[in-house]
């Protein structure tokens, strides 16, 4: 770590991370799988795979396909469920002292709140990140996360049952992410994290079928980085709460780009698959980049982009 550069960032709800680099949900397992490749304690934090009330088997394969500078996934939120998570995974993470953000998924609102409630009394939960990709039955079945009204109401409900820092993860598949971010803020979120994956599809032209068994999937990786940067910047101009940015980060330059756009912290996702040591290397490179650019405190970069803002 480059001596003298302050990397700590405050991301709302009283949570301070030792540096702005976390790993994204669904791309870092439960964290422990990465111990052969890096020191978890060198990371700003770890966001675990989305946790649902009951274990989920996920979708049949194929679940993945490479796309130009990206990938599509339709894992189907395979996870051990909240009970096993609390028994097996959280204690190990707590023991290691790594800032653990728990990504929460439910097939309906009650499910989601059930997990939040189970997590609420636990120590070692740095923050709860709500993944609102479940269908919004009340409003015609589109994802919950596409409706500002639904976001505000579920955030408020979650806020009422936990004192843990509460992050709302925003989908990019909306007409105005500033609106959904404002809804999360109004509902009492301590931070918003963005972006989740874009909906995409690849068709195998020989078989005349989608490559993914489920049909469509979520697009991630460098292909979506320009979209993510634009959205972080839009949200930065709309809300007052901290932003956790992600989408296509592969190196320290990309982290700086997100910070300049307005993110207080970032998450590294798909790149972890390419190189399980990448997140820790990025932390080191970020410190070195700051030092080389005469930046004493990484917070100086947050939202510091100048010029036209359209």
């Amino acid at each position: 770590m480059s001596a003298g550069v302050k990397l700590e960032v405050a991301v709302g709800g009283g949570l301070t991370l030792r540096n702005p680099v976390l790993t994204a949900s669904g791309t870092f397992g439960y964290g422990l799988e990465f111990e052969p490749y890096l020191d978890l304690n060198r990371l700003g934090g770890v966001v675990v795979k989305g946790i649902s009330p009951r274990p989920r088997a996920g979708n049949p394969p194929p679940r993945l396909v490479e796309t130009p500078s990206g990938m599509l996934n339709a894992i189907g939120l395979q996870n051990v469920g909240v009970d096993r998570f609390l028994e097996e995974k959280l204690p190990a993470l707590r023991e290691r002292g790594v800032a653990t953000v728990v990504n929460v998924y439910g097939q309906c609102e009650e499910d989601l709140l059930h997990v939040v409630e189970k997590l609420a009394p636990e120590s070692g939960v740095a923050a709860v990140e709500l993944n609102l990709s479940c269908p919004n039955v009340k409003e015609g079945g589109l994802e919950l996360g596409r409706s500002p009204r639904a976001i505000e109401s579920i955030t408020r409900d979650a806020r009422a049952i936990t004192r843990q820092p509460l992050w709302v993860k925003l989908t990019p598949n909306v007409s105005s992410i500033a609106e959904t971010a404002l809804a999360a803020e109004a509902g009492g979120a301590d931070a918003v994290s963005l972006i989740n994956t874009l909906v995409g599809m690849v068709i195998d032209v020989e078989r005349r079928r989608p490559v993914l068994h489920r049909g469509s999937g979520g697009l991630s990786g460098p292909a979506i980085r320009p979209v993510a940067i634009a959205m972080v910047h839009q949200v930065y101009r709309a809300v007052k709460i901290p932003i956790v940015g992600m989408g296509g980060i592969v190196n320290a330059r990309d982290v700086v780009e997100f910070l300049l756009a307005g993110a207080r912290a970032v998450q590294v996702g798909t790149a972890n698959f390419n190189d399980p040591g990448v997140a820790m290397r990025i932390v080191g490179d970020l410190a070195a980049w700051c030092a080389a650019h005469g930046i004493a405190d990484v917070n100086e970069l947050v939202g510091a982009v100048k010029g036209n803002q359209a």
Binding site: E33, P55, A57, L64, V65, I75, F273, N274, D275
Partner: protein, 278 residues
């Protein structure tokens, strides 16, 4: 524990018909890798390749001074974008490399392998580039390799890469090609079935690697005859070390609803044919 490193290309051999043998300097992996395990390889520049590619280690070879294994050989076929890029690599170029990964083949319980004549007969079945998994197995088997039989199928003679090597290292090689250009015409499962039926009482273990349809046919043959069978599976992989959950195959007898899938990269790539749905 897998190593995450960059390795230099030592040799790139073009074997014709789109097959290549790529030799990488990777002593740590060469020493620890076991037959059936694999590595993920990628370009060092992530902008050129976001997702690494899985390859079996075909061979290990000692360093220039002999002794311990120091290099790994990957036998691969050019399929799409990734393998095309790999085929352009020159000696001295560097690759990103993660391995050894996964669970390889396992040999019969030593307790069963009592006296001389009673040894389990090892039958290897390769379809096309599936042969890439077997040189390392034969290397590991040592003297026992000479008592194995390799059933080796391909579309034509050009797909039977390293055939000379196998003829020198396996006990016997039985070939079958769809176009009849080498060995019996047709699928390799025909001579395999004939062999299994010729001496049905014999204790055997079949180890198979190749296209999915071949694996399914081999597994059916074996299961129908009660012959133990290990199959090396392929599924699209993003990580290779168990975290993306992309590479799953279906279990034959899940214990619970949650337990429906297993990961090829971690629980496999080699499975007992009875474990999974083929």
């Amino acid at each position: 524990m897998p190593y995450n490193l960059t390795a230099a290309v030592e040799r790139q051999e073009d074997l014709g018909a789109g097959y290549h043998l790529l030799t990488l300097a990777a002593p740590e992996i060469a020493r620890e890798i076991r037959a059936g395990q694999f590595v993920m390889i990628g370009l060092t520049d992530i902008d050129q390749m976001l997702i690494r590619r899985p390859f079996s280690v075909a061979l290990v070879s000692p360093g220039p001074d002999g002794g311990e294994p120091a290099s790994i050989g990957l036998l691969y076929k050019v399929i799409g974008r990734g393998t095309t890029l790999f085929s352009r690599l020159q000696p001295g170029d560097r690759l990103a490399l993660l391995g050894p990964l996964g669970r390889g083949f396992w040999l019969p319980d030593p307790a069963l392998e009592a006296g001389g004549g009673d040894e389990t007969e090892l039958l290897l079945v390769a379809g096309g580039i599936g042969n890439a998994i077997f040189p390392l197995l034969l290397q590991e088997l040592g003297p026992r390799a000479a008592r194995t039989t390799l059933f080796f199928g391909g579309r034509g003679r050009a797909d039977l890469t390293l055939l000379d090597w196998f003829e020198a290292h396996a006990g016997r090689v039985v070939t079958a090609t769809e176009d009849g250009s080498h060995g019996q015409r047709g699928f390799v499962t025909a001579p395999l079935a004939a062999h299994l039926d010729a001496d049905p009482g014999r204790r055997r273990l079949v180890m198979a690697c190749g296209p999915h349809a071949m694996l399914r046919a081999v597994a059916e043959l074996c299961l129908a005859r009660g012959v133990p069978c290990q199959v090396a599976m392929e599924e699209t992989m993003a990580c290779g070390f168990g975290v993306c959950l992309g590479c799953v195959v279906e279990k034959r007898e899940p214990e619970s609803d949650f337990d429906r899938f297993v990961r090829v990269c971690t629980e496999g790539p080699v499975f007992d044919a009875r474990e999974i749905v083929l």
